[in-house]
Every structure is written in C-alpha cells, then in structure tokens.
Symmetry: C2
Subunit: 369 residues, 2 copies
Amino acid sequence: MFTVLHTDPNCAGRVGRLELPHGLVDTPAFLPVGTQGTVKGVTPAQLRDVGAQMLLANTYHLALRPGEDVVEQAGGLNKFMAWDGPLLTDSGGYQVFSLAELNRVDEDGVTFRSHIDGDEIRLTPERSIAIQNALGADVIMAFDDCAPYPAPRDKVEVAVEHTRRWAERSLAAHRREDQVLLGIVQGGIYEDLRRRSAAGITALGFPGYAIGGVSVGESPEEMRTVAATVCPLLPEDRIRYLMGVGEPVDLVDMVVLGVDLFDCVTPTRHARNASLYIEGGLVKIRNQRYRKDFGPLEVGCDCYTCQNFSRAYLRHLYLRGEILASVLGTIHNLTFYQRLTASLRQAVRDGTLLELQRTYRQKIPRDPR
Amino acid sequence: MFTVLHTDPNCAGRVGRLELPHGLVDTPAFLPVGTQGTVKGVTPAQLRDVGAQMLLANTYHLALRPGEDVVEQAGGLNKFMAWDGPLLTDSGGYQVFSLAELNRVDEDGVTFRSHIDGDEIRLTPERSIAIQNALGADVIMAFDDCAPYPAPRDKVEVAVEHTRRWAERSLAAHRREDQVLLGIVQGGIYEDLRRRSAAGITALGFPGYAIGGVSVGESPEEMRTVAATVCPLLPEDRIRYLMGVGEPVDLVDMVVLGVDLFDCVTPTRHARNASLYIEGGLVKIRNQRYRKDFGPLEVGCDCYTCQNFSRAYLRHLYLRGEILASVLGTIHNLTFYQRLTASLRQAVRDGTLLELQRTYRQKIPRDPR
C-alpha cells in the first residue's frame, strides 16, 4: 500500500508512493479539503489540472448532509462528487469536538447536537466506521477523542485512553478490505502522553498512522515538538499523516521530521479571502497597489490563473465579490501547494531538504494574521 | 460585418453571420452577461466549452469599478478578462436609469450618483462612447434615454427625442473604426413612438440596430408588440439586437419576429438561485424530491455538469451554499441557451421555425415567478 522510495540522508524526510484503489499518490502529498464533497470553488477537472492526486472529505458534514445513505446509494463518494482519484475521510471526531454543541463524551462514544439543526446525534467508533464504509473513501480514519487546546493534563490523558480503546473498536468494526483504516495518535502537547498514545496505537498494527490533535490552536513550536516526538515512534514503512496542517512553512518543517501526508483548509480558505500565495509571501490582492498591476499573480506559475489573468483583474474580481475570484484564487493557491510538495519530493531525492528548509523561511514567511 | 444567410419562408426568422474583429458569431445568438467583466461563476474556458461565441459587459459597472482607464491600460476588455472572442458593451444608459440614484436628465446628458459610493457622475453620449472606445469591445452601443415602465406618454416622447439626438452625437463621438456602433430604438410600449424612434434612428445609418427599453417590467405581450412593430422598420441587411431579453420562450418568439441577438441575466441568475433549465421547464433543484435522484440534470445534455454530476449531488451543493453549485448550474443553463439558439438556427434553415414555436410553449413554459 505504501512504499518509501527515497530518504534524505540528512534528516527524516522521505519520498514515497501510496497505492490505493483509485490511483497512486506521490508523497509527501497535500490533500485539498473537500468538506462537503466539493473543494470549494473548483471542479474535479480543475483539481486534476492543478495536480491534486488525492482529496479529503469530512465524515461529520457528509453524514449530516446529505446523509451517508445518499452518498452510498449514489455509488460512493467518488461517484457522488465525480472525483475519480483517491479520497480520504476523517472520522468525524474533530468536527464533533470543534463544531457541534457537545453534550457528553463517555467511554462508549460521543453524544452531540448537530451544528445545523440541533438534532441530537450519537457517534461511536462503530458508527463512524460504518459511515466511512458507506462513503467508501480509499483511506478512512479511526474514531478518536480530540482534546481541545489548551486542555489540562488529566483531560488529555482520558482522551488518549479513549482514542486507544476506540481505535481497537474501529479496527473491529471495519468491514471493507478495499479501504485502508489509519490509526490516530493523540496526546495534546504533553510529550509523555504522545509517547503513550503512539505506543498504544502502533501496538494495534494499523497500516498507517495519523498525528491528530494538532492545528487546534497550539504554537508552531508546540506542533513541531509533537511531530518530532511522535514520528520516530511510528513504523518507518507505514504512511504518516499530520492532520489539518498547514501553512507552507509547516509542510516544509514537518516533511523534514518525516511526515508524508497533509490536509488543510488554508490554501482554499485564503483564496476565498483574497490572500494568494507566491514565493515571497502572501499577496493581499485587494490592495490598492495592484490596481494597475497587469502582470500575473506569480511570474513563472503555470496555473490557469497566472497564465490568463493579471493581478489587476484578480483585484477587481475580489473587490466586486465575484465568484470567479474564489475560483481563480483557489486554482492558484492549490497549484502553489502542489508545486511546494513537488519541490519537497525533489529535495528529498537530491538530499537537499535541509537546505530547502533554511531558505524557505525567508521566501515564505509565516502568515502573521 | 453582418450577413443574412437564410430566412424562414414562413416568418421573419433568419440565420446570419456576424463578423467581428475577435471572431464570428452565428445568429440568432444569445450573449451571456458578464456585468463586471466576468460571467458570474464561470471561466472563459468554461464559456468556450458551453459554446458561447460572444459576451456582453456593462459599461456603467466597469466605468465605476475598476475604471475604464484600468481596462484600457490592461490592453482592453478582451485582454483584461481573458476572453478572446467578440464582446459587446452597452451604453451605460440602462443602468443609470435603473440602478443609480438619478439626479437629473437634461438635453445634454444625465447626472447621477453612483450606486456604489454616491459619487456624482456625469454621463453624456460623448462620455459613454469615450468609455466604450477605451473598453474596446467589438460592438458598442449609442447612449440612449431608457424610460421606465410604466411611463406616461409625454415622458417617453422626451426619451425618444433624447435618444435620437444622443444617437447622432454618439456617432459623431465614435473614434474607433474597429468597433461597430449600434443605434437603439426606444419608445416604450407606445407603438407610434416606437415607429417615430425607429425612423429617426435608422435615418442615421447605423451598421445595426437594437431595440431598447424592453424587459423593464412590461408584459410578454407588450414586448412582442414592440418587437413586431419595430423589426419590420429596421433594414433587413442589418443586425437586430433585442436588449435584455429573455426567457427561452421569449427567444423563440422574438426570433420568429426577426431578432438576431439577445442578452439576458436570466440563465446565469437562475443558475445561482438553483433554477435549472431542462426541456419541460425549470428544475427547482433544492426540492426534496431530488434527494436520491442519481440521474443527470438533463438526460442527453452534453454539458460538463450533466456528464459528470447527478441531481442529488447538485441539490446537495445548492443546499450547502457551495460555490460549485453556481458554477455547475451556470454551465448547464448557458449550455441550454446555446442549444436553444442552435435549434432556432436549424429550424430557420429547415423552414420549420413556426412549428418549433408551436411546440416550444408546451416544452418550456414561462417561469411563473
């Protein structure tokens, strides 16, 4: 399923190939987020054009609307959303803990109220896996307990224990051999709890592992410490997925630590908010300075947006609130991310990943926000 | 510039070819509306795919934002919006009378306040043509006085007189031989005023003529009377453009009367509001009945939307407010309109336009709204 093809001799960075029922994925890979079964603003054809190989969709959202029964009867999520490449669904756990009005976590699962209509819903490992089996993504995730940030140690300790037991039940509930089920390591920013969680989850023998509970409000340094703690504890021959990460600099830093897969709403959300990535940082395209800037958004970029439109036109579209602004911005930002992961793969092959990391921080500073 | 290729022996319907600097247009033709220099939700590549040959953009909007200086310095509207086919700009008159806070119409022109920021702006025939010369569309329009509906006869009479004198001044102000300037006939629903306006405008010898002041609230019967009155008064060898029209049934009826060109926001606006055209009427795709309808929106339609997505998926996208809903709906509705004009052209060639008209009213009833 996953093969490591190259490792950088100077760090933990590696290049691999993920073989899934709907196709191959070159890693390190970034998965655009298609929360509702659509990457906001772009068609599957445009996603192919930007080079995306695999997408993520959210179990929580799709289970609420349109309902996994609709997706299943449509022939599965690939067919429903007309994406013929690999897909990953999350377990729904993160959204339950972040979006829903949370009622009660118990040993067995979570009872919550839908953020859409307030309906009371019960999610357990068995239910999450059943939904994910119905959705039919190539890769699915164990149901986990994602503690918030900050959270007291005893609360995170409970979440780690839930996550381990729920992982075991997720494995037992999984019914489809054509889907890969990944385990999730929790533990917040507590290094010993991360180690405990990694030991407990890897003991279950998943075909691959995710690091969850990051990108929930912790600092970049804390996130780096988490990945640096967990990655060495994961089997080298299994895929490693850092959930919900991140900015371009995060991808660089985390690939150095040995992460293979990422997903994040950042490039697509930024695109809708008129923040566009170029080497050198974020272009706030609504700025007056671009009013008569007739050059492309990013010189040398081969995306549809940069090949056809000027900064002045993009600025105009964003200021007028035109749909096409989000479309063109999303195409560019996703292309930027795909170019970044391609350059990371090349750097690993060349053994120059640490050099890339050193120069990258100057080229693309962290978004101050 | 315009050649009539076929006429239907049983009515005034005709097929023609419009030759413009940016390409050929087969008439009868429907122009998708790109108000702000973008047809809402779709890329130029997608517009080509749906078969659109020519687009309309609005002088009023583009003059306010980003300003015609920006568009001109970008290399003209084609280059600015990355559309390499023919373009038409209106005169701005209609928007001044419908959108702007109108201050004063006088013999010389109109003073109004921008609907965006309240700035006081002066529009005259000379100014409208100068803006349209700067924007650089293949076809531009004389500056006219568009009376509202309903309007008392004396008010419409003044508008007709303004429109004639402003047409003369528009001709005199026009500076670019590569742009075709069309005259506009006004006169509201008063048949004698329509005849007077047609006589006055055609006497000026424009290369083509528009019927303005329709689609402003009058009934379909009143609009039909206007077109039936004016069309026979226009030279047979010149293009005839019915501005702001219309629904599919309107296109059929008006082609029968001898109209060649149409533009309307209906297909694109309907698409954003989840009203999708099929033979048989409008599909209100949000309806519960489509929840598990896994067939295409329209069987036999070759558009990207119908070839790839189900009604159930489209319903889901619209209910979630996803951008892709507007994109896919717009692609389909524009394809539907292009297919309609193609079938009208074929019917003229076959001499069966009146038959098509008879059957069409049952197939696509007027949207009740």
